[in-house]
């Protein structure tokens, strides 16, 4: 039962409450009104009797008058009138009490009733005597009747008085009773109002209590304290629903906060890792810078070697050392700069010279250059590695005469650099690997440190496109051809 009440909605609760309260007041009112009504109805009946008596008195007078009239006039009209009135009077007296009781009023009615019978009889005899012209008789009868008339009148009057006395008594009592009734009624009504107020207070308190704790908790949450116990849900009404929702909300917020915290922690860790990597990078760069000292030192010593050869008069040694020094200087100076095709070609020249000294002129280097394209910009250290690749993979192990052909020409807006050998050639797989920047096996030995993958990557970055280099080979043993497509517009005058 209690649970059922708890599960009602607030609206139903309120409605039921006001209904109960109003019904209570209403029923008390009904009782009060019924009492008062009943009492006033009694007061009414009290006077009803007096009215009836007055009618009786009037009727009696009519009887007496009609008799007198007949005695005076003796018309048939008055006789008829007399009969009618006498009948009426007789009917009226029939309503009076027939019995003798302890009640004065009843006994008086009894007397009036009997006297009226005698009186009517007397009147009847008077009329008869008059009709029979018995003067002596009707006169005495008339006197008798009149005497009785007087008595009855007195009785009616006295009865009226008695009744009035009793009624006044009743009335007084009734009025005082009414007052008492009213007072008690008012007290009860006031008590009912007090009880109602108490009831409403109690019931509304029951409704408001969970709301209050809810607001308290909401305040806590608003202050930022999410670490709260979930509220107890007392009922399944609207407030119960809100409380449940609030509890869920708090739980969700708690979960969310935990998640955010965890995420922050992960991010922190990632940042730390990144910082570490950066440190490593810096460290690597430092080591790289330290490593750069060596070419300078080599270049300077080579220069010193060249001057020594010149002073001793060994011209060929001098030239060789000079070219080597130039080659390394280029490496040191332009290692990370953008250069022109001309400068790159110069480095290739040095390289070929060094190789030919080393391998006693086995490599034929042919050049066909469109000189208008010499000042087109390109990244440094591109052509020499390609040439080195051609020498190492193409012609080094070749029987016969190795030829490297270098051509620079323009097609449309492009400046093309073609490097061709007549060496070992390449299969499709190798070409694909080279184009996609994968380093070849055993590449690094004997090179000056820059691999084909590096070349490819830098070229692609410089031009901003993948179609910067094409490698062609008609198969193993048939040589290979590298073609670089550079943008013709990028010249020395521009600073990239």
């Amino acid at each position: 039962m209690k649970n059922k009440i708890k599960n009602l909605s607030v609206q139903v609760k309120m409605t039921v409450m006001s209904l109960v309260v109003n019904l209570f007041v209403f029923s008390i009112n009904i009782v009060l009104l019924a009492g008062i009504n009943n009492m006033s109805a009694k007061i009414d009946t009290v006077y009803q009797a007096n009215i009836q008596l007055n009618e009786l008195s009037a009727s009696l007078k009519s009887v007496q008058d009609s008799m007198t009239e007949y005695l005076n006039a003796k018309t048939s009209d008055s006789l008829e009138n007399y009969y009618k009135i006498a009948q009426e009077y007789s009917e009226l007296t029939a309503g009076l009490s027939e019995t003798v009781t302890g009640k004065t009023l009843d006994r008086m009615e009894f007397s009036i009733r009997n006297m009226s019978e005698v009186y009517l009889d007397e009147v009847g005899q008077t009329i008869e005597a008059k009709r029979g012209r018995n003067v002596e008789k009707y006169r005495t009868r008339y006197e008798e009747a009149t005497k009785l008339y007087g008595y009855i009148n007195t009785y009616i009057y006295s009865l009226n008085n008695e009744q009035f006395k009793e009624n006044s008594e009743n009335y007084r009592e009734m009025v005082s009773a009414l007052r008492t009734f009213e007072t008690i009624g008012n007290i009860i009504l006031i008590a009912v109002i007090v009880v109602n107020v108490l009831l409403i207070l109690r019931l509304t308190a029951g409704i408001i209590r969970p709301l209050r704790s809810l607001t308290g908790m909401a305040d806590e949450v608003a202050k930022g304290n999410f670490d709260i116990e979930p509220l107890t849900v007392w009922s399944r009404d609207e407030i119960g629903v809100v409380t449940t929702a609030f509890n869920q909300m708090v739980v969700s917020i708690q979960n969310y906060i935990r998640q955010v915290r965890e995420n922050a922690e992960t991010e922190q860790k990632l940042k730390e890792k990144e910082l570490m990597m950066e440190t490593h990078l810096k460290d690597a760069q430092l080591k790289y810078l330290q490593a750069q000292i060596n070419p300078h030192f080599l270049f300077n010593t080579l220069n010193a070697g060249a001057q020594l050869a010149m002073m001793e008069g060994a011209d060929r040694t001098y030239e060789y050392v000079q070219v080597m020094a130039e080659f390394f200087r280029y490496n040191v100076k332009k290692g990370s700069e953008t250069v022109t095709i001309g400068e790159e070609l110069e480095l290739v020249d040095y390289y070929i010279y060094i190789l030919n000294v080393r391998f006693s002129g086995e490599i034929h280097y042919e050049k066909s250059i469109d000189s208008s394209l010499l000042d087109v910009k390109m990244p440094s250290m591109i052509l020499q590695p390609i040439v080195e690749n051609c020498v190492n993979h193409g012609i080094r192990d070749m029987m016969g005469k190795g030829v490297i052909k270098m051509r620079v020409y323009g097609i449309d807006d492009y400046a093309c650099i073609s490097i061709e050998d007549n060496g070992a050639g390449m299969d499709e797989e190798t070409i694909d690997a080279l184009l996609n920047g994968r380093s070849l096996k055993g590449e690094k030995k004997d090179s000056n440190g820059i691999g084909m993958d590096n070349v490819m990557a830098r070229l692609k970055l410089f031009v901003g496109s993948d179609d910067v280099l094409s490698i062609e080979s008609e198969g193993p043993g048939k040589g290979s051809r590298f073609v670089i497509y550079l943008n013709n517009d990028v010249r020395e005058t521009y600073d990239v």
């Binding site: 004065t104 006297m115 005497k147 008690i184």
Partner: protein
């Protein structure tokens, strides 16, 4: 409720509701009791027979006492006695009241009769109408009345005579003779009074010789009191007492309550206490006080209870058996200074 501001245990709610319910029940109870009280103000018992009591002075305590007793015994026998003049707005004499009673169709009439012809006629008329008539206190011996209920006037006269004699012996009357006045009803053509008067005279005359020598001769006379209207009694009595000392009566014998009370009052008013000795009738409170204060020498107490009861008994017996005694004699007793306190105490006890 944790904050406790509106804490109301369900117990207190129930207590208040309970009080309220009790109040409501009280209100309803009060209302019902009031309704029934209003309905049952007078008893609703129906009575088989209806008697009328007709007396000349129905308001006097003597007749009220008789009526009370009659009513009580009538109710025992399922009858009701009505004091006819009560509740009527007009004052009718006993003849008119008798006529009314006859016309009202009562079953019996108890009447303080007189010996007048009119009374005889009315009693006979009632009898003809099938209404039995009992005369009480004073009779109409010529009529067809059923019974007479009253005191024995001869005995009463003897009693008064004895009282006069003892008074004469007790008090030293300096005058030549002792004047005794018996107050009688001027209009009563009543043999009872004559019997009584005769008995008084007889008692005085037959006084033993030893007593006669000790007091002057006693002269007994009658004095008619006019009782036709309310004030005439007092006037008559005053006329008797407003006289020179020589003519003042030494002893006044009163034969009813009104005469006694009036005489007592006049004697006090005219400062004649001690000069005029009163022999009273009946034992109303005023009369008892008079004895206590030495104004009234003695009074006769008539047993009014018996009077009322016998009247009803006579009627009932007649209705039951068809006949009844012609005479019912009620007891009389003497009250004087010696036993008046007793009576007064008894009266007070009765009233309580």
């Amino acid at each position: 409720m944790k904050n406790g501001r509106l804490r109301l245990s369900s117990l207190s709610i129930w207590v208040i509701t309970g009080i309220l319910a009790v109040l409501t029940v009280l209100l309803i109870f009060y209302y019902i009791s009031f309704s029934t009280r209003l309905g049952a103000q007078e008893e609703n018992t129906e009575y088989e027979r209806y008697y009328a009591m007709i007396t000349d002075d129905s308001d006097s305590s003597f007749w009220q006492s008789v009526y009370k007793s009659a009513l009580a015994s009538a109710k025992e026998q399922n009858a009701y006695v009505e004091m006819m003049s009560e509740n009527l707005s007009k004052d009718y004499d006993i003849y008119e009241l008798t006529e009314i009673a006859i016309a009202s169709g009562v079953d019996g009439i108890i009447i303080e009769a007189d010996e007048s012809e009119e009374m005889t006629r009315l009693i006979n008329k009632a009898n003809d109408a099938g209404i039995s008539v009992v005369t009480v206190y004073s009779d109409n011996s010529n009529s067809d009345r059923l019974s007479f209920v009253g005191i024995n006037n001869y005995n009463l006269g003897k009693l008064y005579g004895g009282l006069i004699l003892s008074l004469s012996a007790e008090k030293s009357f300096s005058k030549g003779k002792i004047r005794v006045v018996v107050l009688t009803d001027a209009y009563a053509v009543d043999t009872g009074q004559n019997v009584l008067f005769g008995a008084i005279q007889e008692a005085i005359e037959t006084e033993p010789g030893s007593g006669k020598a000790q007091h002057p001769p006693i002269e007994v006379s009658m004095y008619s009191v006019d009782s036709t209207n309310e004030f005439s009694v007092e006037e008559s009595v005053r006329n008797l007492l407003v006289k020179g000392r020589e003519e003042l009566p030494d002893i006044v014998v009163c034969l009813n309550e009104i005469d006694t009370t009036s005489t007592y009052q006049e004697v006090v008013d005219y400062n004649e206490v001690g000069l005029v000795n009163i022999l009273g009738y009946y034992d109303s409170e005023t009369i008892l006080k008079g004895i206590d204060r030495n104004v009234i020498y003695a009074t006769v107490s008539v047993d009014t209870d018996q009077m009322g009861q016998f009247s009803i008994d006579a009627l009932s017996e007649y209705f039951e058996y068809g006949y009844t005694s012609q005479y019912f004699t009620t007891d009389i007793s003497l009250i004087n200074k010696r036993n008046v306190t007793e009576y007064m105490e008894d009266r007070e006890e009765d009233e309580e």
